[in-house]
Subunit: 618 residues, 2 copies
């Protein structure tokens, strides 16, 4: 997140710089050659010997058909012992000049396996010769199943004369009508927000018969239906969907309705097979048939689908966490979870208590205050806040910004650089960025604390992104509402809610907060809650907790997993997949999920290395 | 069209190549420096002396606030005598290494004027030192009115707390409601096909209150409503709209319905102010008010608009040319112009006579034959045909293809290279390409002629693109239907239509062609026909013929104009503009048209050099 590759584009590069680059390239080429030889000789020990004492190999489906990070020579040995033979990796070659900085040589490379083509990024350090400190391998396409892009794109017009010609519109209509009736989808994607749409687009490109279903009236309503002032909290450079980037006039932080429009039209022009106003009501796996049976309600019509693979793209936040509190039944006002909050318009002049102090709470408190409501935020535990501008500058700027693009860091490169930083040590790269933010925004944090706000920087000071990866909560990207808390415009109360009365929220210390409306900005459960609802509790438990790294920090119990639990990769429930995350994750990881599904659709052998065990059921 | 700039990206470029590139760059830099000095000294003669005996300076609004090509030192002298002072051009500088090939040194440069920033392309030849053979100058932005793109893009989210906050959707709704009622559009664009949409997008970006009106139900229906088998005849790389390129999985030749979806999507996400189901019925200029009064029918509601500038984007093809023939009133079958042809579905087994032998005729004949109609094409005069694949390879491949992109020729660069070739000598670059096509497709042409088809290569052998620029007709880009004529599946008849009987078309030589349907694929008139309808005949005559170069070839009477008549530039009718052409022209030239309109909106002085005279009224 903080280390970039900045190709030397200075026209007047000195001869020394050129020589250094040549040396760096030679070093990486040499290392790749040794790796190639070791793999060709099936010499696992020799290959493992190319890694440094502290080292991390992250593989995204190229060797492991899994998302896997192994550590040290022991980890490499284990990975290769299981995967060297079936993978048949070869052809490792530098794809652009390598670079050296601070004793680390970084090189981009390509390679292939028996069934696919890959790319990767290696960082070499000196330890009795060049040794890999980090090694990323990813597959980007299956041989014989390349996507129809660039020179492979379809022609569109079918030249020549053909008495049986069907127009594009006719073919598309036939396909649309057949899917789910005379032709079963191979993959059913439940949930058509950005995650489902991105995956649907990739599967369509790959020729996998897939169907995305969603309960809203149309694509994009997942965003449009949220509270009025909502804008993306991540900047545009981080948020592109696959294949079709936002144009360069797109707002830095897209307003939710504009994002909704984009998703709707993306779905249309990418020809994502998509059923709106459709809810899955029951899913059952039949081992005998080798398919799921999924009952769906399509705008009132009952349809039974038989997909081979089932993907939950229902939101990584999972199901709403609505606390059960004494007195909720006697409270005379309105109460709802943040996910059901309609926006502030109806609450001008009303007393509102918002329980919780993370992103949703701040956004909702800010919008309510703007509309003239009398707002109190109830902080139950400490929260981490960073100012949006600072996060862009210190957190993302090297990878996702105009500055990064100018330096040659395309979105695709940024995604791989991002992916190349092992989760185990990612906090090391994060801590300095947040220290810098603490320094530059010191006034802001001082005021916030003076107002009594309980602020933290994460268990180890590693800030927002690690909180996101570990627990998916506990923070606010400040776009202005924190100032309202700091200056008292939004009142602050502390502690757990004890009960509700007819007209107030009462905290554990007896504080009584009069309320016409209570908003529970109390977050979300694990995604496997959706599985419990749709399949059954046993399957949800077998799948286990989704999200988190096992970092043994708050709300992310161990043991260490090395990758995010259950996301985008095979789970303990065969033929069931979890997809989600922010736009960046939906974009990048949908590639590997789509390739995994494509391989299964085509009958390509996909031996999974180190299938994750389940340690927590929720 | 055939000359490209291929930056030397070979890693192992030899020292000699580097030296040659350095020399080329030094040559261009020296030349630009001399130009700069001459301009600074207001020394027109010295500046003109920097041009070769045969030379062409094409300016797109940077110096001339016009589309202008001047020729030789005399032309340069005239241009600079009128424009040097007000333009205030300076800061000419090479923007990337220059290149030398076959005695021509080519260099990209940037510059600025008193009011704007420009870029250009110069080709130097040796004539007592380096002299300009071609010199292209274009303005791409007005100072102080830069477009909100990349680092200037809008933020979207308005950080901070604001009691008067309006969401993006609310603001957009307010603007939409105000436009045309409480707020008059500065520019009214009549016609919302690709031309109107591209211009509307640019004007929106530039902050010009503009409105695009169109009679169809929604954007894209201009394409959707055409005959079923229609696909773009130009390849995708040539067809991008401004700001948002087709993704790299887009078909080479997009089917019309897919193109329609894209245009609809584009209009929405680019926030083009657009009224569908709207027809302009009358337009009058009031000199006293300095505005047009335009009556429009908006889905049944009568609205009066008062724009300052009026743009016709009603299709460069102009109004349908329907021949008046004896017997049309007694003919018992169906008859319609090609633009009204609904596609083949209703005509299986029917006898169809298609009058004309250009693009529309071939497309319609092919589709009818595929559906099982008995089709005869009436060829009235010779037609030029090229195979689509050959046109892509020999005609466009160096500029608009994956090959071009791989060589660093972006769409934006290709557009400028294309624009840098003066119309006066463009045929010279075209002839060899068509000679190559004649050679490679010899079998095809032999068969076509054996079938009696009257084929030509243009008056001077310069082929399709020159025909397009000169007369906008007389050719077919073969996507398969020519084969049907060659093999006799579509029958061929020759000559003018003399009259119709109750059941047949009768040709001048007496040939009787039985017909259930007659399609008049007889082309279109000049765009000023639209002006006659909407304003009056006097204004249409004052405007004069649109399109054509004055090449004194068939259907393009002289005198030589140097630029396309009346397109994208000031006309003899103040505040009235013509916009149109293929997707390439709509994309590129809408930039200069939008900047001309923006300058007028902002009150920037726009002295027009060499306003075109009118030599033909239709």
């Amino acid at each position: 997140m903080t280390q970039t590759l900045e190709p030397d584009t200075t026209a007047g590069a000195t001869a020394e710089a050129t020589d250094a680059a040549d040396d760096a390239s030679a070093r990486v080429t040499g290392w790749l050659g040794e790796l190639e030889s070791a793999l060709a000789a099936h010499d696992v020990a020799a290959a493992a010997g190319l890694f440094a004492t502290e080292s991390y190999w992250r593989d995204l489906i190229a060797f492991s058909w899994n998302f896997t990070t192994v550590e040290g020579r022991e980890g490499v040995t284990d990975l290769l012992t299981h995967t060297l033979e079936p993978t048949g990796a070869s052809g490792f070659a530098l794809t652009e000049p390598a670079e050296e900085a601070d004793g680390v040589t970084t090189g981009w490379f390509g390679f292939e396996t028996a069934v696919g083509r890959g790319r990767g990024l290696v960082r070499l350090v000196e330890e009795d010769g060049p040794k890999a400190f980090t090694f990323l391998t990813t597959m980007y396409e299956l041989k014989g199943h390349e996507e129809p892009r660039r020179t492979r794109r379809v022609k569109g017009a079918e030249h020549g004369a053909d008495k049986d010609r069907k127009s594009w519109a006719e073919r598309r209509e036939e396909e649309t009508e057949a899917l789910g009736s005379t032709r079963q989808p191979h993959t059913l994607v439940i949930g058509g927000g950005q995650g489902g749409i991105a995956l649907g687009a990739r599967l369509h490109q790959l020729g996998v018969p897939a169907l995305v279903i969603d309960s809203h009236d149309k694509p994009g309503d997942q965003w449009r239906s949220r509270y009025k002032s909502l804008c993306l909290h991540d900047p545009v450079w981080y948020d592109h969907l696959p294949y079709l980037k936002f144009p360069d006039n797109w707002p830095v932080f897209a307003p939710k309705d504009k994002m909704g429009d984009w998703l709707e039209f993306y779905t249309q022009v990418m020809e994502v097979p998509y059923w709106s106003r459709t809810r899955a009501t029951k899913a059952t796996w039949s081992e005998a048939d080798g398919t799921w049976t999924v009952e769906v309600d399509r705008d009132g019509e009952q349809v039974t689908l038989h997909p081979s693979e089932l993907v939950f793209a229902t939101g990584m936040s999972g199901k709403a966490n609505v606390p059960t509190l004494p007195g909720q039944d006697v409270f005379a006002g309105e109460q709802h979870h943040s996910s059901a909050h309609p926006g502030p318009d109806a609450y001008a002049g009303k007393k509102v208590v918002v329980v919780g102090s993370n992103n949703s709470s701040f956004d909702i408190c800010g919008a309510l205050w703007e509309k003239g409501a009398d707002v109190t935020m109830v902080q139950r535990s400490s929260t981490h806040i960073v100012k949006s501008e600072s996060l862009m500058e210190y957190g993302l700027g090297d990878l996702y910004s105009e500055r990064a693009l100018d330096a040659g860091v395309t979105t695709e490169k940024a995604d791989l650089i991002f992916a190349s930083l092992p989760y185990r040590i990612m906090h090391r790269f994060q801590i300095p960025a947040y220290e810098a933010m603490a320094e530059v925004d010191k006034d802001f944090y001082d005021r916030l604390e003076a107002a009594g706000f309980d602020h933290d920087w994460g268990d180890d000071g590693s800030g927002l992104f690690m909180k996101y990866l570990r627990r998916g909560s506990g923070y606010y990207i400040d776009v202005g509402a924190a100032e309202l808390v700091a200056n008292g415009d939004v009142e602050l109360a502390h502690g757990q809610v004890d009960h509700l009365t007819e007209s107030a929220v009462v905290l554990a210390d007896g504080t009584e907060l009069p309320a016409d409306l209570v908003v529970y900005a109390t977050g979300y459960g694990s995604m496997n809650g959706w599985v419990a609802d749709l399949v059954d509790a046993e399957t949800a438990d077998r799948l286990g907790k989704c999200w988190g790294l096992g970092s043994e920090t708050t709300k992310d119990p161990g043991p260490w997993e090395g990758e995010q639990r259950n996301m985008w990769k095979p789970t303990q429930v065969p033929h069931l997949w979890m997809h989600g995350g922010n736009l960046h994750q939906s974009r990048h990881y949908s590639l590997y999920l789509a390739l995994q599904l494509k391989a299964r659709y085509e009958g390509v052998d996909t031996p999974v290395y180190a299938l994750q065990e389940v340690h927590h059921t929720a």
